[in-house]
């Protein structure tokens, strides 16, 4: 693609980027940051291209390292954002039995499991 077309796309993307997040409440700052973080993990596409065209062992090794890092960014980013947003679920539920048996116990359970496995 020629330079001017790329430049046009870039400039328009800047404005779209400014516009889509212009009105965001502070509550969502962290999930939004995390979601944007996941999106730039799409560098994985670039890493795949470089790895797929690698001619020698060294290039391939470094490119595969890039693939691993980019995948971690992409997959981890979306998963951790989803976990953050999971917490917002169920806020509108009545705080009676349904809440305790549903969301509350589930997340508390996974939290404990994490502690056990993580340490």
């Amino acid at each position: 693609m020629d330079g001017i077309a790329l430049l046009t796309i870039t400039v328009l993307s800047v404005f779209v980027g400014f516009e889509v997040v212009s009105k965001v409440s502070s509550t969502l700052h962290t999930p939004l940051m995390s979601g944007a973080n996941a999106i730039h993990g799409i560098i994985l596409v670039g890493a795949i291209i470089v790895a797929g065209q690698a001619a020698d062992g060294w290039t391939l090794a470094l490119a595969l390292l890039a693939v691993v890092l980019a995948t971690a960014n992409l997959v981890g980013g979306f998963v951790v954002t989803d976990r953050m947003l999971e917490m917002f679920r169920g806020r509108k539920k009545p705080p009676a039995a349904s809440a305790v048996s549903g969301n509350g116990t589930g997340s508390a359970g996974s939290g404990t499991g994490a502690q056990g496995a993580g340490r």
Binding site: N37, V45, G46, A63
Partner: protein, 457 residues
């Protein structure tokens, strides 16, 4: 494989780009946030499948293996991470993304001799490297692997300037010669600059720096898209760069800071370097029973949650305390500071998890006039966000930050682990005021004791 025609490829990349825009849009509103994130993930899957189907690639088994390894490492960590550790995990993921962009640029250098493309390569290298090492330092700070206080030493601005100059000079040399060893040298200067950029930032400001580095990685990815001639990378990277910049400014203004002040504030005479030494000035400490009596005979209680509540995982206990007090006709509201905890929105997420009704959570501007009419302000594990020094002490590192005006309440109860100062490392005068009572201990345990005592009354 080249199953897809160039047109089909372009259309699929366009689909992925639209998904990313919708993802950011969705994430800006609580109702659509989760769906927005899933749309983004779907866009990413479309893009990755498209790249495999649209060009002739060698080493496909290796690449699939590397993707499997990356997923196997990242997904479980992201699944299991504790609420309190999410900000540093985001920092880590951001850093590795920047590192990946830098590697891609480094490997492409050998195949490109157009000076404009080489300019994009050095930009990706430098910014990706800064983002990588800077993010690792923020990770270390938040994980408390190193001090959370600003690290400044004499000559830091000079070294910082020299490192940047060296990076710019090396960039020029790489553009002219295209030499691989110079590119590696540039990578080293970039890594050094990233470390030096983040070291002087104080712990409380780290989330804002993560957001800034996130925008940096976005720009590096956009530049790598120019290198590879891939429109999707250009669009996605630019979107993140632009929205990340806006977000960084919004986060900074929620804390009453400027981005340049955060990055370079510590250079100006070290005023942001606080202390972590526990004070030995006399305070009025109390028992859970006394606190219970204060709460039980109040008409209105404002609870101010902070990081201590998150660390102790005391959200369910505090929710129970609220229910118990309300069942006795006492009005209970939560005062939410936008940056209480370690990340903006931390407290909202935490209390939502414990099913605290949304109506009970009040934002700063809404709740501040209510402290005067409340009987008791119960501060659970918060410190800097209620520190009056932000209003009264111009030299203080948190001066100018909007705070919750807890000092207006006739009775203030602090649940604290110890007399150690908060994350910003400064003493809170409010602790020594006559209307203040302290109850020492782990937030969850203290809340549990208070709850039992309230029930017994």
């Amino acid at each position: 494989m080249t199953l897809l025609s160039p047109t089909a490829t372009a259309l699929l990349y366009l689909t992925a780009a639209v998904c990313f825009i919708l993802a950011l849009k969705g994430l800006s509103s609580p109702k659509t946030a989760r769906r927005g994130n899933l749309i983004g993930a779907a866009g990413a899957i479309v893009a990755v499948i498209t790249v495999f189907l649209s060009m002739k690639l060698d080493n496909i088994p290796w690449i699939l293996g590397a993707i499997a390894v990356g997923s196997a490492i990242a997904a479980p960590i992201a699944r299991r991470v504790q609420m309190t550790q999410m900000p540093q995990l985001v920092a880590l993921f951001n850093g590795v993304g920047g590192g990946a962009a830098a590697l891609v640029a480094l490997l492409e250098l050998a195949h490109r001799d157009d000076p404009w493309v080489r300019l994009a390569i050095v930009f990706t290298l430098l910014v990706g490297a800064i983002s990588f090492s800077g993010s690792l330092v923020t990770f270390a700070k938040l994980q408390e692997l190193m001090t959370t206080r600003p690290v400044v030493f004499p000559g830091l601005p000079v070294i910082m300037g020299a490192s940047l100059l060296a990076a710019v000079a090396t960039s020029a040399a790489v553009i002219v010669t295209g030499a691989g060893w110079l590119a590696v040298l540039l990578l080293v200067f970039g890594l050094l600059t990233g470390v030096l950029l983040v070291l002087p930032v104080g712990g409380a400001d780290v989330p804002i720096v993560i957001s800034l580095l996130n925008a940096f990685t976005g720009l590096a990815v956009a530049a790598s898209g120019i290198v590879l001639g891939n429109v999707l990378l250009v669009v996605a990277g630019t979107l993140v760069g632009a929205s990340g910049t806006i977000l960084t400014r919004a986060m900074a203004s929620a804390m009453g800071r400027s981005v340049t002040g955060i990055l370079f504030g510590a250079f100006k005479g070290g005023s942001t370097a606080g202390s972590t030494v526990a004070s030995d000035r006399p305070v009025r400490s109390s028992t859970a029973e006394d606190v219970a009596v204060l709460l039980r005979y109040a008409q209105k209680v404002v609870i101010v949650p902070g990081y201590g509540l998150a660390v102790a995982q005391g959200q369910h206990t505090v929710a129970e305390l609220q229910t118990e007090l309300e069942s006795r006709g006492i009005e209970v509201v939560f005062a939410i500071h936008p940056v209480a905890g370690r990340m903006p929105g931390h407290m909202n997420v935490l209390l939502a998890e414990a099913n605290v009704p949304y109506e009970s959570l009040k934002e700063m501007s809404e709740v501040n006039p209510e402290f005067k009419t409340a009987d008791v302000a119960l501060v659970v594990g918060a410190n800097d966000v209620v520190n009056p020094a932000a209003k009264t002490t111009p030299g203080s590192p948190i001066y100018g930050m909007p705070i919750l005006e807890v000092e207006e309440a006739p009775q203030v109860v602090f649940l604290k682990r110890s007399m150690r100062p908060g994350f910003a490392g400064i003493e809170n005068e409010l602790l020594f005021e006559p209307q203040t009572t302290l109850l020492f201990g782990d937030a969850k345990e203290s809340l549990g004791k208070v709850l039992t005592a309230v029930k017994a009354l």
